[in-house]
Symmetry: C2
Subunit: 356 residues, 2 copies
């Protein structure tokens, strides 16, 4: 069984993985064998916040990061916050298909969920940000999203004493703690707390054979046997590596527009054309529409389509229903979040900029 350490796997590599997965699956016949097989491929969401590279998660940093996450004043218009597109009330995403940003511009790809994002190999559909702090630097500056600049962010933060104090507490060893890097680190710290443990599937992986219904177990078995778990495995049931979209058959142009070549834009390797990070499937039932274009609103339709274009398999309706039932077992417990009362703007706070 492969582990999820590699990145940028080529199509050839992907296919060999598919073959490997399929070859072990017949062993997963009996109930216990199914659980053992699942444990080799997947991992439960932990109930504690994971450690993050180069960024110790402290209470002070998380508190600051939560305020930043919800603060629309960090955008140029001062109406868009991280939570606008990564709404924590709706599975960590917006309604889609793609996000509405500054001046009602539409983004080109579906907002990925922020829940459990800390477990992904890298961030964005093409993995262009190595981690959540690198990710946090993106949308705030993107002209079609929050359309701000690091200068705007720092001017805004420095204009409010409460923010300056929060940064001092979150980064006590820094002489000048209000920096754009620390802004991204605080957001990463908050986002690392956005994990959703205790889904039925987690309970199953932890040994409770009754946590899944018979239909869900049958769906899990199919998910592994048919090869879905080749690309969707690990702790996030996806998000752990890169794969071509359309291994067997090219998806429709509406799902795979010619101009968006995915990871190719990051690596410039021809083998990465139309390669994307596999979608993490945790809480997937909470957040249609699906795929990077957000063009498929039904999980059933998404499963049917994926089995055809990725696996060359035409699943029966009953098989798809079983897999969908399994995917429903990936819905975990949402963290409890107190809505933050934000620092009060001052005369030094930059004014909203709506037009440019």
């Amino acid at each position: 069984m492969r582990t999820s350490t590699g990145r940028g796997l080529s199509m050839a590599g992907t296919l060999s993985v598919l073959a490997a997965t399929i070859s072990i699956s017949p062993a997963a016949g009996a109930n216990e064998d199914l659980m053992s097989a699942a444990k080799r491929i997947f991992k439960p969401i932990p109930s504690v916040v994971p450690a993050v590279k180069d960024n110790p998660i402290t209470h002070e940093k998380v508190t600051l990061g939560k305020s930043l996450f919800f603060d629309p004043r960090l955008s140029a218009s001062e109406v868009i916050s991280c939570n606008t597109c990564h709404n924590l009330g709706t599975g960590g995403v917006d309604a889609g298909p793609t996000s509405i940003g500054h001046r009602w511009q539409l983004g080109s790809r579906r907002a990925p969920t922020v829940y459990n994002a800390v477990f992904n190999v890298a961030q964005f559909w093409d993995g262009r940000a190595a981690d959540l702090k690198a990710q946090a630097a993106g949308p705030v500056q993107a002209s079609v999203e929050m359309n701000a600049t690091p200068d705007h962010v720092l001017s805004t933060l420095n204009s409010m004493t409460d923010y300056v104090v929060m940064f001092s507490k979150a980064f006590p060893n820094d002489a000048a703690p209000v920096t754009f890097e620390n802004f991204t680190k605080a957001i990463e710290a908050f986002e690392a707390t956005l994990i959703t443990p205790a889904a039925p599937f987690d309970q199953y992986l932890e040994g409770d054979g009754h946590a899944l219904s018979d239909q869900q177990k049958a769906g899990l078995k199919l998910f592994m046997e048919k090869g879905c778990s080749s690309c969707h495995n690990g702790i996030n049931v996806g998000g752990q590596d890169y794969f071509p979209f359309g291994v067997v058959e090219k998806p429709a142009e509406s799902l795979l527009p010619r101009e968006d070549k995915g990871r190719f834009a990051v690596t410039k390797n021809l083998s990465d054309e139309y390669v994307f990070r596999s979608a993490p499937l945790r809480n997937v039932a909470l957040r249609p529409p699906y795929f990077h274009t957000g063009q498929v609103w039904s999980l059933k339709q998404a499963v049917g389509m994926m089995s055809e274009v990725q696996l060359g398999a035409k699943l029966s309706d009953e098989e798809i229903d079983k897999i969908v039932a399994f995917l429903n077992s990936l819905t975990g417990q949402m963290p409890k979040i107190d809505y933050p009362i934000l620092p009060t703007r001052t005369s030094a706070t930059p004014k909203p900029s709506l037009d440019k």
Copy 2:
């Protein structure tokens, strides 16, 4: 001392009130006299949720109303919620000057705060909604705001079992509880909980002479003596009645655009031209920019301007600073709000409509 039972007071009525207020003020010299005078004009914010007409406030209704308040899927674009413009993290308002709505359209007036709105005589700057349930029916349908229809709202709510269950619990005596009227009632119930007690001024009104600084007391004295409290009195230090904007002097066109005739649009009485509900000043320091146009970003400037155009008084810098210090004593304690996890959309949920 007048009470705030009247509505649609004419300009002549307003001026006589000014005179009455000014005539009693010299008695408020000593510290205790100041407190007594203040107690006759203002009332503290209660620490319990107030009763609301025709809408008993139950826990179930508040819980439902909170979800509705934060749910962007009730707008046509599915990206704008009540909280977008009445952000509970920033004093119950957005950044302004006026709100950004559907397709990046700009509203014509500053978003009023939702905090303590339950205590206002009526809702909106022109009082066109008698209460919060009537108000809640407005922005969701306004084409420049959420641009939805009652049908869209009801289709959306009925598409999600969790919402249907919440309505059943909130309106247990209704055979068909998912109605647009109940939608507005639930929002009103939640908004009735958005009160901010225990400001220094509340503590002062409740008898703690040390709750205000000397400068704040001097500001309170000026606020009453100069006549500010003629229009800004009662529990919300404003919001209790209607008054002409520009009693003594016409404000600049940028602050009082010719085409927005205020309450005249509601009553069609010529005496209501350029009449507005007095701004409730609770938490006013938290939510610049000021006035219905949102064109003044500094509280100091707002106080100076108001004293000129409403009272014909040219206050000294020191006097203005004192009044601003008093206004800062109106900042109360924000309620603690758990960010709601919203019901999950289904295949029957209407899709976002971004264009029309």
